[in-house]
Symmetry: D2
Subunit: 354 residues, 4 copies
Amino acid sequence: MASNTFGNLLKLTTFGESHGAAIGGVIDGCPAGLELDLEAVQAELNRRRPGQSAIVTARKEPDEVQFLSGVFEGKTTGTSIGFVIQNTNQKSKDYTHNVDVFRPSHADYTYNKKYGVRDHRGGGRTSARETANWVVAGAVAKQLISQIKINAFTSSVGEITINKPYQDLDFSLIESNAIRCPEQDVAEDMIQHIKEIKKQGDTIGGTITCVIQNVPVGLGEPIFNKLHAELGKAMLSINAVKGFEYGSGFCGTKMKGSEHNDQFNQDGSTKTNLSGGIQGGVSNGMDIYFRVAFKPVATLIQKQDTIDSEGNVVEMQGRGRHDPCVVPRAVPIVEAMAALVLVDFYLLDKTTKI
Amino acid sequence: MASNTFGNLLKLTTFGESHGAAIGGVIDGCPAGLELDLEAVQAELNRRRPGQSAIVTARKEPDEVQFLSGVFEGKTTGTSIGFVIQNTNQKSKDYTHNVDVFRPSHADYTYNKKYGVRDHRGGGRTSARETANWVVAGAVAKQLISQIKINAFTSSVGEITINKPYQDLDFSLIESNAIRCPEQDVAEDMIQHIKEIKKQGDTIGGTITCVIQNVPVGLGEPIFNKLHAELGKAMLSINAVKGFEYGSGFCGTKMKGSEHNDQFNQDGSTKTNLSGGIQGGVSNGMDIYFRVAFKPVATLIQKQDTIDSEGNVVEMQGRGRHDPCVVPRAVPIVEAMAALVLVDFYLLDKTTKI
Amino acid sequence: MASNTFGNLLKLTTFGESHGAAIGGVIDGCPAGLELDLEAVQAELNRRRPGQSAIVTARKEPDEVQFLSGVFEGKTTGTSIGFVIQNTNQKSKDYTHNVDVFRPSHADYTYNKKYGVRDHRGGGRTSARETANWVVAGAVAKQLISQIKINAFTSSVGEITINKPYQDLDFSLIESNAIRCPEQDVAEDMIQHIKEIKKQGDTIGGTITCVIQNVPVGLGEPIFNKLHAELGKAMLSINAVKGFEYGSGFCGTKMKGSEHNDQFNQDGSTKTNLSGGIQGGVSNGMDIYFRVAFKPVATLIQKQDTIDSEGNVVEMQGRGRHDPCVVPRAVPIVEAMAALVLVDFYLLDKTTKI
Amino acid sequence: MASNTFGNLLKLTTFGESHGAAIGGVIDGCPAGLELDLEAVQAELNRRRPGQSAIVTARKEPDEVQFLSGVFEGKTTGTSIGFVIQNTNQKSKDYTHNVDVFRPSHADYTYNKKYGVRDHRGGGRTSARETANWVVAGAVAKQLISQIKINAFTSSVGEITINKPYQDLDFSLIESNAIRCPEQDVAEDMIQHIKEIKKQGDTIGGTITCVIQNVPVGLGEPIFNKLHAELGKAMLSINAVKGFEYGSGFCGTKMKGSEHNDQFNQDGSTKTNLSGGIQGGVSNGMDIYFRVAFKPVATLIQKQDTIDSEGNVVEMQGRGRHDPCVVPRAVPIVEAMAALVLVDFYLLDKTTKI
């Protein structure tokens, strides 16, 4: 089915394989009259770009976005916004050894079984390169709801975990280190750990926490478009994500109601916020916060046994340039997807009352 | 926006307030020719029904579903299936004290702010009574994909957690106790704990694990309708859910790639299954398993301070009949939503290849 | 596929067979805060009801709508509105002769081939009884956009055609005669003609013209949700419709551009209105008008040869109570569907600009 | 709203302004395994291309489509197909006189009012240049359902009308003349008439008839996705279309049921086909045929008075290169949109029965 579209009122539809001519998409439903800051869009792409630090893949892709329509004399016109990002650094021969081999814990096997055919080069459509498209759309979305502040950051790498509650963090430090963790000494540990893991040809998982502030009351749509359910779906769409929790999350399952309930202040705010800023699927004006679990990258620079499409056992070894840990580059992706969810509900909410 | 619809090819659209005349829905897109077992549908409803044991709410609702269309001489006809469940036991006067009061950690406040008006009786549209509709549709979905086995069970209540991996559990024991936990001694502890919590007028959270077996390879649709993302959204749509993880989940974030990768057997199955049966959003034929986090019920039989719609502080005390823990009644809801997700992808997959 | 839903932001999802227990639907996306005039809804249903005059079917269906949700203390709450209309006068035995027979120019054959099974009683899901659901939703839609005036009327029956341009008609006369034609002497001829046709056991086609006035500029969404394209689809969804034209329509194909162009007045209105109030799929503030073609009813009270499901030739004769001409009862249906289209664009337009 | 998408299972999403960098789109939901004939796609584009004959606009656009994804080693992979068509011949200065002027019977005024901003160059997004995108997608769709034969042709230009019923036409002659009318002497008259109209700086309307043969029984989805309703919407989406009729169409409104009913043969085919190959919204295996009304092009090479955005009366004269009659270039567009409708139902029908 047509499943390359995200959103309801603001819709992103994407295309592109890792090693095809280009990736890109269509942003449809963007309101007219937005003065689009193209540099801000590119800046978000640069946060996701390969080759930006010693702890991410060494691939060099400029990832320059070109807008083809929907923007006229600097303003959105209300028509659909087409964009492309050329693939300039497709070392397809890095991947010729994959033609007929199913990499463990990748989607090679499932795509082959489902479609009977696949573009094996660099994962083809399953590559996280696709998420560059999401960052473009998310950057536009951020500008549409610039009053809402969305900050994601790395909250753990392997066993190394941020110590402070998010309220005590200085989000302006997120971009000050390669791992995008605003607790500086923890960041150092994380970076050091990733370097060691990388030396082993291995990879490591981690978590990203996202905090959304200054959210108007009333975003989210019951019954089947609850704000947290759409956020969850958005996050689970990101490559390598294995879990999502918001507010008290899994910890909340161990609590009693008398501990968990958030008591009201007289202005409608709450004294605590175990709810995570959402009640009944609708934002209540408190901070929204959630945590996203990323598994370790499946491509190792180690020898592994696997099978080919005939079922023969073959030995393989990753030879491409790969990330030892996805979380630093995934931070802008998390923010982008959160922005896309929020802008949709922001637009929808305009139709709620007569 | 119209947000009361779930699914793409098999669509469930629902309506109904806790204390209105009836709840119900329309199941659209059900293939023709299914011999619908109406008793099996009712049996699923009975698993969700209030009053079924000492550890759930004492409300007595028969929850009898009546099909109004789409089934002729016992078979589905391919036309839309309308159904209703009458609300027979609406003690609205139990709720008159709520008219103007916002219950802590309920959706009263957010709905009032969003819509400017709400049916306050028993939570109105935000009541989990709505999930009876989902169980009806899920029971139809289960019959459409009867080869796939879906088993959910209570895996924790508060701090009390099931010990065995799911592979060592006997799913036929799930319905043998009131908490729906197939590890009998753990079930006893859970039930005992809930009884104590209830005596305190308090409530407690818990988790449900769901295992889906005998899944064909190839279900799920990249990029934005990944199987696990839709499962996650479905689960996060259930009242009181705060988190979702599948396969290795949050634990997987602490692992190295060399530990986490699932090596292939020659037949395409894998030696381990940290992936949770899904690669790239598409089922790989291994068991799918995931865990859902439920917060403690917000309605306490204790005095709490809260505010009314004018911002005045008022004292309130739950007087309705409420569940001390939602998980036993949520087990069939988890299964129903999983079935709805799966049947959609099952139908979609028929259009994948020429 | 799930195809029983109409609309984008305000969605109507319907169910029901002609001779099942009930028909009904869910209106989803209705903004909160509308004081719903239930009598006005029933009044629209009464305009569509069988048995209302000598020139329509003699069936007696009260067609009383019951709202089950979404309305609280007289106001819409923003939640989905469920409704049912009981089927009280199902003379199913009138239809037992149809069990295995395909009526000419009905959908019996196509449904049987498509689904392999069908509810043969009175056409089942293909019966125009379904349109009662549309009239309910359309009546709600009319109340949401009460400033827009929608008037449909019978503009021809067979060869008998209204003479005056719509600007010279008094719409308050539409309901003054059984055929719903505001040109009184023409109405008399039409009624007389239908009575003669009915005496012959035959049926006759006709057209309905619809005029929409006081439309705000800007309704309609390019590229694939043009206002006239959605109106056309809506009208072509009505049973027995064979054609749709708006503005100059098929006559416009014979004109030169210099004759057809509508010159502007200084206030943005146009001197002529061959465009029919829509440019580029978007309303321009002038009257919208269109014409809908209805074929003659296929059920005759005459003997016809046809085939059964085995391909045997059998003789059949309509014995139910049928309309000799659908147009008088279709007038409120045309208005209802137009209202549903307009309200959707009215809501969508709120999201057009930042 | 996001309204630049057509289709349900096979979805086309488009972007692009007449004088922007490029137009293009995403074809999503195309089944895997189709050996895509790229030359056949380009050949369809060439049928729509400007500059192809003396009776169409003299603009020279190569209209070369470039596929960016979704096709690997000649085969569709089941992933989304991105494509672009560069705009190479954008004489924007031809249009500088339009900056602030609303052309009569164009969408300048409605877009300006709706969006507050527009790309005025050559109509921007409202230009029929957009339909090149549709032809690309339609050409892919045709290959997916190559067993179904879709033939459109010019059936009238102004008052000059084809004489023969379509059954007596030789469709292989359609491409043999510039007007795409398979009745050769009528084609000559049409071409001559257009040349005269063009000499006057004027334009003329016309109709296109489309015949779809070899259609399987069962395509189309009740209630709100009827085959003819979707065809109607598709045709009404084409620029300049004012009407749609299928089967007996508006003529059928003058007939009696006894004349109009199509009697069955024993094999399920019908002796006549006034129904136009569709019953109850579902194909019955007979030929589908419909007629589409095109108004005369609004851009004249004559002086016209109009207004500017301040409401001042100004004199304007078309100076671009324009079509005196759209129908010859619209023939492949009609076929493309018909193919998109059919392929959607073809895919949907795979999910109809268990």
